[in-house]
């Protein structure tokens, strides 16, 4: 279960609309609290994939380190990543799966004709064979 304040959900949708038709991306800061994982902040990041930003995104390791430092400054963890799928469903692609680790929450928001649609969160399973849906609870 991923507990997401409405203001963070709105910020992810807005970022996806802002960068449309390109993919947006960013880091999710939070903390595991029992069965739920609570989102405590977002770090919007630049999509470094200049050659194909409509259907790919990349966050460099240097940007990952920036996000890790922000999490440390706030006393929380870097718990996952978000990105948008312009004109595509909010579910992971095979390309996503090849470039992921378990434990992280991967939020995907679908953007159709510059309008935000479904938003889902996913976790890669241990054997890397698939993602499981992680229910999102919107609060606030």
């Amino acid at each position: 279960m991923l507990r997401l304040n409405e203001k963070f959900a709105a910020a992810i949708r807005a970022h996806g609309v802002e960068t449309y038709p390109h993919e947006c991306c960013g880091a999710i800061l939070g903390r595991d609290a029992g069965v739920a994982r609570e989102v405590l902040g977002l770090v919007p990041l630049a999509n470094r994939r200049d050659d194909s930003p409509r259907n790919r995104f990349e966050i460099t390791s240097d940007d990952v380190r920036v996000a890790e430092n922000k999490a440390r400054d706030l006393g929380c963890d870097l718990v996952g990543w978000y990105h948008s799928h312009p004109e595509a469903p909010a579910r992971p692609s095979d390309f996503d799966r090849e470039h992921a680790w378990p434990w992280y929450s991967y939020i995907i928001v679908s953007i159709e004709k510059a309008e935000p649609r479904a938003m889902n969160s996913w976790r890669l399973v241990d054997d890397r064979s698939r993602y499981d849906a992680e229910p999102i609870e919107i609060i606030g």
């Binding site: 995104f57 990349e58 990952v64 992971p92 692609s93 470039h99 680790w101 434990w103």
Partner: protein, 92 residues
């Protein structure tokens, strides 16, 4: 003195929850190899089916990306710290 390897949070499930693992090694490649020998479940998340580091897995020696040093042949010294840092990629 051994080499220290910092384990990123997502991979601590495969290192008995350790956030740091100490190994004896002469190069960065040896150090990562020693790590995955000790914790074999880590291997599939660091290496692809061809036995090469996955393209999104980056290794830093102290604060330097080893791609700009001698890659996995980069020599390590007592007290050095190795970090494993993912780059995040994906798309529809």
């Amino acid at each position: 003195m051994p080499i220290k390897i910092l384990i990123p949070t997502p991979l601590r499930a495969y290192t008995n929850k350790l956030d740091t693992v100490e190994v004896q090694a002469a190069t960065v490649g040896d150090a990562i190899s020693a790590l995955t020998t000790q914790f074999s479940d880590l291997r599939k998340h660091l290496y692809n089916d061809e036995g090469r580091l996955r393209s999104f897995v980056n290794v830093y020696l102290n604060d330097e990306d080893i791609r700009f040093l001698q890659k996995d042949q980069t020599e390590v010294s007592d007290g050095d710290t190795i970090s494993i840092v993912p780059s995040i990629a994906g798309g529809r």
